[in-house]
Every structure is written in structure tokens, then in C-alpha cells.
Symmetry: C2
Subunit: 277 residues, 2 copies
């Protein structure tokens, strides 16, 4: 059964990159004033900021930090490169801990021309190397399977089945999965793999946006919910049936929307959230 | 084991759309003069042509017609729309018969916003409705699974597993599969599904090109073999191990290459074919 329409904004989270023109202070104030309850922070938004102060500001505005984006990018051609990635991820875990984010989203990485099998092994090794730090910091790591069109240089994990397999292999409570409708909507096994993910207690995050026809840019032409063809509400139903009760995170990379008035965009997000998510 | 390097052009086929600026007469003459042995004809290249005469010209130049591109696009919102698609595919079968093409490549279709499950059912029904004509005309139908980035409006069949499933359900000698590295290279199940496809005698065609990083256009930014990250030779090895001994069809949609001198491009194709395919 498709989920019920959403009736309020108690589960609405927005990624800072969705309103890219706004810095963290602006985003927090605007989201809070609009009644948005959650924020997922992209790391660039924290550069040069005092994390303790930023955390306090977010808390004072009544927002919950849902996750930190993003860790990952484990594969590299050299051992040194892979170690750098692990070190960078450890810094991300420390940042998540300081900003109060319970979760880091992992875009796992890929190296053009390197066999995907090798990248997948390096991803597994990279995540393994972070488990102690993640547990100590009380920060979870969410493997986000990315659309196959990003298999060249962004992620060698391209289906929920692969993410589930990897999670179950790692078998650590610090590791789970982020389900993003943009990356996964086309997959004939999606419903089954969402059920599997929930049953294994690995379903940690749910991201929404839409797939536009035509899509004119591989990265930055995502649609607002309702602007495309994704069965968002049906997928949300599957996710909720699988036991997920967290935030619905609006993550839209869009040159078009970034070029619009962001206050109006925020209102459009709220409208689209109730109507189409 | 990866396949051996190709040593000659006896299995080289080029799609007319690869050298889009050339009409059919030019393409046939240029391919033949370059030692290319096979040609896959896109239907637009036959518009306004006398098929018998064109067939004779191709034969006289010593080229083999490998396939006709393309049939398919079965899903539609209305019964009338679906019947139109079937009728159009019957015309394609008749054209293939007349031009001497043993095979039609099916881009199966999808309707933005229509559930993929519905489109898949309509695809199955559409192909079923063509089987008698295909058998009578001695023309095979090759389901081509398309990259998931085309699931919105080009094909609801996005993995080789889905194509194999559909073939085995239809269970008719007139139906098989076209494997295109561009659409399938990212799939962790690819080798296994190629084996399955060959074992079922369903592997009818093999298309090659490359995936560029970055890819700047979802449709028309394919690379020449070697310009991207696809393990083409390894996949060719899998295809050959699965019993395929047909042509290696170069199918490149590329605004960049279409803008280049096509004679030079043809030489580049030959170089890339020996070096990277």
C-alpha cells in the first residue's frame, strides 16, 4: 500500500545543499522559521565555523541534525590515497560527533578505469577501518547506493542489494544504508531489498527528490517531488513498512532551483512535500 | 579470461548512427572501403529509399546487414497507442525482411510516470504480438536492456537479468537479447547473466562503445572504445565464452564525434577497435 499523504512537517528534513545559495546560519534560520524540523549538513557548510557554536545555534532554533554529508570515496589507486580517504573519514566522524549528527552518509567512491570489483573491495576495507571510531563517537555510517550512472567516479555500490550485501558482510551496528529514491527508483528488486534492509535493522536514512524527463545534467538536474516520474509515495510506503520512522530528507541538486529565489523554493518544497511525497 | 585483442576487421560492424552525418549510400561505400564487414542500419537511414536497391548496393559492396535499429517502444497510456506501437514494429519487421536484416534491436520503451511494472507488462504483450510475424519473416527480435538512466522514457528493461527473464518467459526462438556494454558495464551480475543468456541461446548481438568521465549528456556523449572506463575486452571475453561469435557492433552517439571529420573518425574507430575492444 502506498503511504498516506504527509500531513505536517514533523518529519521534514532538508539538506543544506538543496538551498545551496544559503550559508549554514541562513539555512538554519529559514528552515526553522518555515517549520522544517530536520537538517542534514553538508560538510562544506561547516568550513571555518565553530562547531560548538553552530551546534548551539541549530539547537536553539529547534532543529534536529539528521546527518552529515558526506563521507566515503574510499577507492584510490595507491595505498597512500586509500589511507588519506580513511583519515578524511575519521575527521568526518569527529565532525559529526561535534555537530551532533548521529549519522554520516557515505558516497562510497570509484576510480574511472579501476575494476569495480577492486573498488568494492577497497570500499569494504575503508569502512572496516572506521568502525571503532564510529562506535566510539556514537556515529553511524550509512552506505548510500548511487545510481549506476555514477559508477565511473562516484560509487561502485549501485543497487540496494549491493549495499545490503555489504552491510550484512560487515555486520556491525555502526553500519547501515541510506535509501535515496533518485538512485534506486528504477530497480525491479527495490521493494524486496527495502524489506530486507529493514529486517536487518540497516535502514538508516531516506532521501527524496524526483527524476525529470528529460534530465539535462547527470548531477544537477534533480527535480522537486512531483516534477518527475518517481513513485515517491509508494517507495516511502515500502520504507515505512520496513520499520523506518525517521525523517524524509529533501536532497535536490538543481542548477535550476539554485538559480531561483530560495525563499520561494523553500515554500515550493513544503508544498511539494505535502502533495507528492 | 579477457578476450584476445582483435586482429582484423572481420567482425567489425558499425551502426549508421555512429557516423550520423553520412547517408546510407555514403556510409556503405566508406565502411566497405575501410574494410568494415558489417553494418547495422537505423531505420531513418532507409526513409525514402528503395529497399531492394539499397539491399543490392550493400551486398555489392560486400557488407553484411547485421541488424535493423530499432523496434520497441511498446508501452503507451492507451490501448490505441499500444496497438500503434505493435503496428509500427510489424512495419519494422517487414523492413528488416526486405533489407535482409536477420535481427531487430528492441528499445522496449517506458512512459514517464507510468509504473515500471505496467510498462514491463506492456512490453511483454507487445513482443508477444509480434512473434508470428517475426518467425514468418525469419527476423529475430533482440531485447536490449537499457541503462537505468533511461528508465523514465526509453526502457523499463534496465538489466540483463530482466531481459533474460523476459526472454525465458516468452520462450520463443524468435526472441533474444542484445548486450550493449554502455548500458550494462556497471552491473555486478553481468558476467553471470551473460553466461545465462548464452546458455539459453538468447545472446543475439553485442554492442560496444565507452563511458566517458565526465559524461556531459545523457544521450549523446558516448565515447570511442578506450575513451572511457568500460572493461570492454573483458566483457567481450564473457560474451565469447557464452558462445557468441557474431559481430562487434560499434554504436556511438556522440555530438563530439558527429562534429568531427567522419573519414578521420572512421579511422579512429578502426584504431580503437584493434587497441581497446
Amino acid at each position: 500500500m502506498p503511504a498516506q499523504k504527509l500531513k505536517d512537517f514533523s518529519k521534514l528534513c532538508i539538506h543544506t545543499i538543496t538551498t545551496k545559495p544559503w550559508d549554514i546560519e541562513t539555512a538554519v534560520k529559514k528552515y526553522a522559521a518555515a517549520g522544517v524540523k530536520g537538517i542534514t549538513i553538508w560538510r562544506q557548510w561547516l568550513e571555518g565555523r565553530d562547531l560548538r557554536q553552530t551546534r548551539k545555534m541549530i539547537h536553539d532554533e529547534g532543529l534536529e541534525v539528521v546527518s552529515l554529508c558526506r563521507g566515503g570515496f574510499f577507492p584510490a589507486k595507491t595505498t597512500g590515497g586509500r589511507q588519506e580517504a580513511i583519515d578524511e573519514n575519521k575527521r568526518a566522524i569527529e565532525e559529526a560527533h561535534q555537530i551532533g549528527a548521529p549519522l554520516i552518509v557515505l558516497v562510497c567512491g570509484a576510480v574511472p578505469g579501476q575494476p569495480l570489483e577492486d573498488s568494492r573491495k577497497q570500499i569494504q576495507d575503508g569502512i572496516s577501518a572506521l568502525l571503532d571510531e564510529a562506535r566510539d563517537a556514537n556515529v553511524k555510517l550509512a552506505i548510500e547506493p548511487l545510481h549506476p550512472m555514477y559508477a565511473d567516479d562516484r560509487s561502485a555500490i549501485n543497487t540496494l542489494k549491493q549495499a545490503n550485501d555489504l552491510c550484512e558482510t560487515l555486520n556491525d551496528p555502526a553500519v547501515g544504508v541510506a535509501v535515496d529514491v533518485y538512485h534506486l527508483w528504477w530497480d525491479p528488486d527495490l521493494q524486496r531489498e527495502i524489506q530486507r534492509c529493514g529486517k536487518a535493522d540497516n535502514l538508516l536514512a531516506f532521501h527524496i527528490c524526483d527524476w525529470r524527463t528529460p534530465t539535462v545534467d547527470l548531477l544537477n538536474d534533480r527535480g522537486l517531488m512531483g516534477e518527475g516520474c518517481i513513485n515517491i509515495r509508494e517507495i516511502r510506503g515500502w520504507v515505512e513498512d520496513a520499520g523506518f520512522s525517521g525523517f524524509n530528507e529533501v536532497e535536490i541538486f538543481s542548477n535550476r532551483w539554485w538559480g531561483a529565489d530560495q525563499d520561494e523554493f523553500l515554500q515550493e518544497i513544503k508544498r511539494a512535500y505535502l502533495k507528492n511525497a
